[in-house]
Symmetry: C2
């Protein structure tokens, strides 16, 4: 990658962070480009879709979550591990307004796309399966993962509500 390209990439990620924090992940891409001092064509070249930009912005956070998930896969208490992962993922989903919707609509429903979020949810699915003996029999792992996305979506701007909804889900998962 050329120096100017790298510079523009970094500027875009930086301005996207600010814009997402201000008005959610649905912030205008043109506006982000303008703030970064690049043309909109440049933004699309680096980030063909909005999710690409989102994931670039959240790369560190998602990477950390995937790592956490992998560590939890080695934990003894499967339910506790699952709880920790669910909570961490829920908190992640609340990072920016609209993030849960963007991810659920793009990453999970486009089975052709391999994304960071898809990897994150794979780990989660594995944690659900591993807890299989201590949760309600027949629980579909993907259901649980989607429930977290749904809770994040329904409780945007309200971490307390998110926590309460998570408690409902956890209670519902118990045998």
């Amino acid at each position: 990658m050329r120096a100017d390209a790298r510079r523009n990439y970094e500027r875009l990620v930086e301005q996207a962070k600010l814009a997402f924090a201000e008005s959610g992940v649905d912030a205008s891409l043109d506006e982000i480009a303008r703030r970064a001092g690049v043309a909109s064509g440049t933004l699309y070249r680096h980030f063909p879709t909005r999710l690409d930009l989102i994931e670039a912005v959240l790369a560190d956070q998602i990477g950390g979550l995937v790592d956490l998930g992998k560590r939890l896969l080695a934990a003894d208490d499967a339910f506790e591990a699952l709880t920790t992962w669910l909570r961490a993922t829920l908190v992640h989903g609340l990072t920016y307004r609209g993030l849960a919707a963007a991810v659920m609509n793009s990453a999970l429903d486009s089975e052709l796309v391999s994304t960071w979020h898809a990897r994150l949810f794979e780990v989660g699915t594995e944690l659900v399966r591993r807890a299989g003996e201590v949760i309600v029999p027949g629980t579909d792992a993907e259901d649980v993962v989607r429930m977290i996305g749904a809770i994040a979506w329904a409780s945007q701007d309200n971490p307390d509500r998110a926590e309460r909804m998570l408690a409902l889900l956890l209670n519902g998962l118990r045998r």
Copy 2:
């Protein structure tokens, strides 16, 4: 209302039903107007917002749900009544793709708006409160109502998933 206005209103509702069934409630309003043989200005005059059109299309269904809810308020088994309402509302939320999102984003988050859906959810909130002695203490009624919306949102096009998620919620509500 004049005869031509009534005619146009009915045409719009009819075409909206078809368009929503085809491509969800996010179908282009211009396209619906075109299909109804009226100008887009006419559509907006009758239905200032998309939710107005949605509710006109679903007036009968929502009315029936509100009636059901009121009947359930008189039922002896509060948990059973709540379960019935939650399921009926969830099924309603799956009527059209995107309906849950449209409703949750518009009706519940705009506290200034009195809509059919707001009334539906009021009844639900009341049913949750009424079941207070048989569900987890401290359960926030609005949390539960929003969970239904969230489940509908996360399980679009997949009634089986919706049912499983509802089961998780119900299990989570039990003491």
